[in-house]
Amino acid sequence: MNTPLLEIEDLYAGVAGKEIIKGFNLTINEGEVHAIMGPNGAGKSTLSYLLCGKPGYEITSGVIKFRGKNLMTMSVEERACEGIFLIMQYPVEIPGVPVTSFLKYAVNAQRKYHNQPELDTMEFIKMLREEGRKLGIDAEMLKRPVNVGFSGGEKKRLETLQMAVLKPQLAILDEADSGLDIDALKIVAEGVNNLRDNKRSLLVITHYQRLLNYIVPDFVHVFADGRIVKSGDKNLALELEEKGYAEFVKDK
């Protein structure tokens, strides 16, 4: 059996002195798609930030391994270069930094990490335009500062574009579907699916079963009060859609 891509064991963690993750366990193997669903405030975004190493988020106990390596001692950028990518629930605006130069810098930083030569600028721009076109992001948008003045849906599409360009091993989608209209949802899902192969894995955080019609998960987990309280296959999502989370939160 291959080393799992991601292993989280008995994780306790929080932010600002508040414990949010309480005994979380999850193993993701190469090529698998896991969905996490759970009520607001359960700690889903917190988990995704912990995986990316966001400053301020602290682990009190437990282990996170990525490809068998201790992830917890790695810096944010190291984790990105190792292949973790997060589609953020609330993408950040960066005035003064155009999308194209930002992404070119990111791609080359990751290539440098892997001792690969920098990409030729012209080739990169061509590739970016091509990928952008698939996601409905035109050349004009690529010249604009990152996320500045982008609509909610455009931001999510730009996140997907970044993922397409950076080709991560593990993509975490934190509500990639929020704020998307039906067509955009399909476009984003398609962008994500294009990346799928038997090596890359996905962790899909969502409130709506609908996204999972397009990105079909191998496993669905119910996340409540800082840990996984139930796991199942894709049918669990349908069940949740019907019954809600009452069953899981009432015993609190």
Binding site: C52, V92, I94, G96, F102, Y105, A109, P145, L166
Partner: protein, 449 residues
Amino acid sequence: MSGLIQEVKLFGYNIPRIEGLREKARASFWMPTVKTQAWKYTKLHSLKVDDFVVEPSKFLEEIEGKEIEEHCCCGENCHQHGESCSCGHHHEEREKHECKCRNKKHLPFAAYELHFENGKFVPIYPATPSGVEIMTLMEAFAIGEENHLLGKYIDYAKYPFAALNTAYLEEGLFIHIHKSAKLDKPLALINHTYGGQENLLVNIRNLIVLEDDAKAELVEYYHYSGEPKSRYFNNIVNEIYLGAGAELDHCRYQNEAYKAVHLALNSVRIKTQGIYNGFCLQKGADLGRSETQVRLLEKNAKAEVNAAYLMNGWATLDTTTDIEHLSPETYSSQLIKGVVGGEAKGVFQGKIYIAQDAQKTEGRQLHKALLLSDTAEVDVKPELEIFADDVKCSHGAACGELDQEQLFYMRSRGIGEKDAKQMLINAYFTDVMARIHNIKIQEWLQNEI
């Protein structure tokens, strides 16, 4: 009075007009104290050591027939070896008369370059278009071209370092752009300071006159190479006269040694329809001030005074402006942005004065700074003196830190922390840099950040 005023024999000691200016200035110089309002935030203690050295006059040495060895700064060979050559550099062996000035910086864009070395003008003149006259200030005095303009409008009671500058009046240029003349590329005054010149006090005075409808771009670049701890004091005054419809883009970049002192005063007078577009990037020096006084004399005179400063360590860099709207329908705009790290201190003092009859005038001012550390400091003093009632006037100041969310976002894409910070700093300066008209100058400075 002060150790800064010393006895030196300078060119023109027998020409009453020149010596008169110096004498008056010597008598007028005063050292600001901790109680001096204009220097409240920018402390001058690094000047209060009486050990500054003023080099002997290059002009007099030439006149007195002292043999001037050709040196490679001028593209010639230096005939000396084992001792200092007249350019002030030390050459070890005859074969190696590569003096440091061989490495002298040129600009990454085409310009009419004029070089100064340790405060002395290197008399090589570029071939400028007709209508553009450039000569040393002393020449201009000698042949009467100076026209009694020098120092005419500078109040020494307010600007003591302009008095100091005038007390040593000698080095500097007279740049005269005749009526309707235009330059196809910028004029660039490149000031090189080399190491080993401890405690040199340099005074440069430039008189810049644009006649009606003349148009020019002027770049001033101060840089340093050599022993990093070298300490010196560059004291610069530019007097700028813009005639009706004249336009000057004036871009200054101060990147002195980190223990140096650089004080500069730009005194600008603008007639009707004249436009002054000033920009200053301060990055070097332990103590730096870029002060700009603009007088909008007649209707439709316009001025922009923009600036950026970027600092670390223990430096104090100061941007001071004083914009006087003296006629109706005049316009001014200032955008000043700073990034301060370490234990450094940024200072901005901005004054807008609107005279009683200067109706329908517009004066805008905005200062913004980013603090990169807990120990970094910014002091801001806006001052509005408005005596007219029908004016549009605004000022604002904001101080912030690097956005942690933005930093995390960038790093989560694989960009290293240091690079991400640098990108954010660059981004921070984009809007103020965009106010430089010449794209090539803009790119040059953007790369220097």
